[in-house]
Symmetry: C2
Subunit: 277 residues, 2 copies
């Protein structure tokens, strides 16, 4: 009995510590010194308990090349808490710089605040084939990484300038909606396979010029952009240069207020009883 | 009996899915519908099993504000495998660009390849108070984030140019060893508290000019840089502009070869029987 307890805990530990990582049944049965049939029973048992606790699921492929993978569920409670923390901290009096920008670089680089939001942005695409998450350097990178992790994929990094260290690249110029300046972005030719399904992620969207330019650039690589997910979008302009976008927080500059979007609240299941009013 | 199995698995799940996250004993006992005394027994049991399986440990603080935290162990096997994969993939024939740079942006943005290495870089500082991990944008960001996560801290982002969106900033110019050009870097004044202990992380080091300049810049904030951890350092020049640095991989340009460093192999326990010869 005690042995089974030990085995179940160690096994749960292996799986949960490495989400979306394939474990070989042969190796696991050797590590835990148990027959494969017993291991399979244990895995079924763990799967049932995790599922009923809303902690995700375990997928087992049987056979000689058999493996097992733990797929975490979206942690709605943690995501809702992260959204509340963001709204709260972005309301701090010194967040607005003298030039009217919302300072959020510090928060964007706190893994605990960003990872649950990356999972939220990934949620609509969990059952869709997304080959990569693309972002334009720099501040959206942690969010893009968290989103890519939740989708079991990688980040494609669009640079502001083309870099010698990345070989030949494709560049485009565009008019940035927020700065009213010509900006450029660039992607290494080897960075993306043709025909990739790509989710674009960024920290901030005003008019949507950057997301639009990124969509055009990715299009030059034969990629299809399935949508754009951003952390904060501004209330104005209401109409953006890109149609399929989702934002987690909305910044109303006139009211000087950042609130979780209806979309994000619905995803978290906090649409009704939320305290942001 | 079956109830205890369920509770232990769900509890292990909560802890392992959120490393370094404090769980309230009161909330856990409510969620699992069990007395605090039973919960404490369960936690002791889980702690013993995780420790003997080399999966880390569980730290419990008793009392009214009591909490429990799961602290993962360094996964040496996973780290060793990641290092081998890096060495192998950096040996791909088209990795060297026409200008003599080693292309590794794609690998740096694969979470599975980078996270174990961030944990390795963090390993020497696990028992030391490190307040932040600093990096200069852009390519070292995923590694810095992984390292910060392993230390339970955040990333401080040094920019290449000062940004309006970050308010007033401090900038310095320096001579980059690899490009022989004057470069600059900049840090927002609000980004760091005085007296912080900071670990500097970057993807690449040749002469060490960037690490040295970052150390100087961080010094202007009254921070103490405890060391610099990099993914790849070049064999030449042997002597770098910064004394306390660790690198995971070494690139011998003359031999056109990237191998795990002795330091990294020792950390992984693969120093003797390694296959990199």
């Amino acid at each position: 009995m005690r042995d089974r307890y030990k085995r179940l805990i160690a096994l749960t530990g292996y799986l949960l510590a490495h989400p979306r990582t394939q474990w070989s049944l042969t190796e696991l049965s050797a590590t835990l010194q148990v027959a494969k049939s017993t291991l399979s029973e244990d895995l079924m048992f763990i799967k049932d308990i995790l599922e009923s606790a809303g902690q995700g699921t375990v997928v087992t492929q049987v056979g000689a090349q058999g493996g097992v993978v733990y797929l975490p569920a979206l942690d709605r409670k943690r995501a809702a808490l992260a959204l509340e923390t963001w709204a709260h901290r972005l309301a701090e009096p010194d967040r607005l710089t003298a030039d009217g920008f919302l300072y959020m670089t510090d928060l964007l680089f706190e893994p605990r605040l960003v990872e649950p939001l990356g999972e939220l942005l990934a949620a609509p695409f969990r059952d869709q084939a997304v080959d990569a998450v693309a972002t334009v350097e720099t501040k959206g990178i942690p969010l893009a990484l968290a989103c890519a992790k939740a989708l079991g994929t990688d980040v494609v990094l669009i640079r502001r300038d083309s870099r010698l260290s990345e070989g030949s690249a494709l560049s485009i110029n565009y008019l940035s909606g927020s700065s009213r300046r010509i900006q450029s972005m660039s992607l290494a030719r080897r960075a993306l396979h043709r025909g990739s399904q790509v989710l674009f992620v960024d920290d901030f969207m005003k008019a949507g010029g950057t997301a639009r330019a990124a969509t055009d650039l990715l299009g030059e690589f034969g990629a299809h952009v399935v949508g754009a997910g951003v952390l904060v979008s501004t209330a104005e302009p209401l109409s953006k240069l890109i149609s399929k976008f989702w934002s987690l927080l909305e910044w109303d500059e006139a009211l000087a207020k950042v609130v979780p979007s209806v979309w994000a609240q619905d995803l978290c299941g906090t649409g009704e009883g939320d305290s942001h009013g």
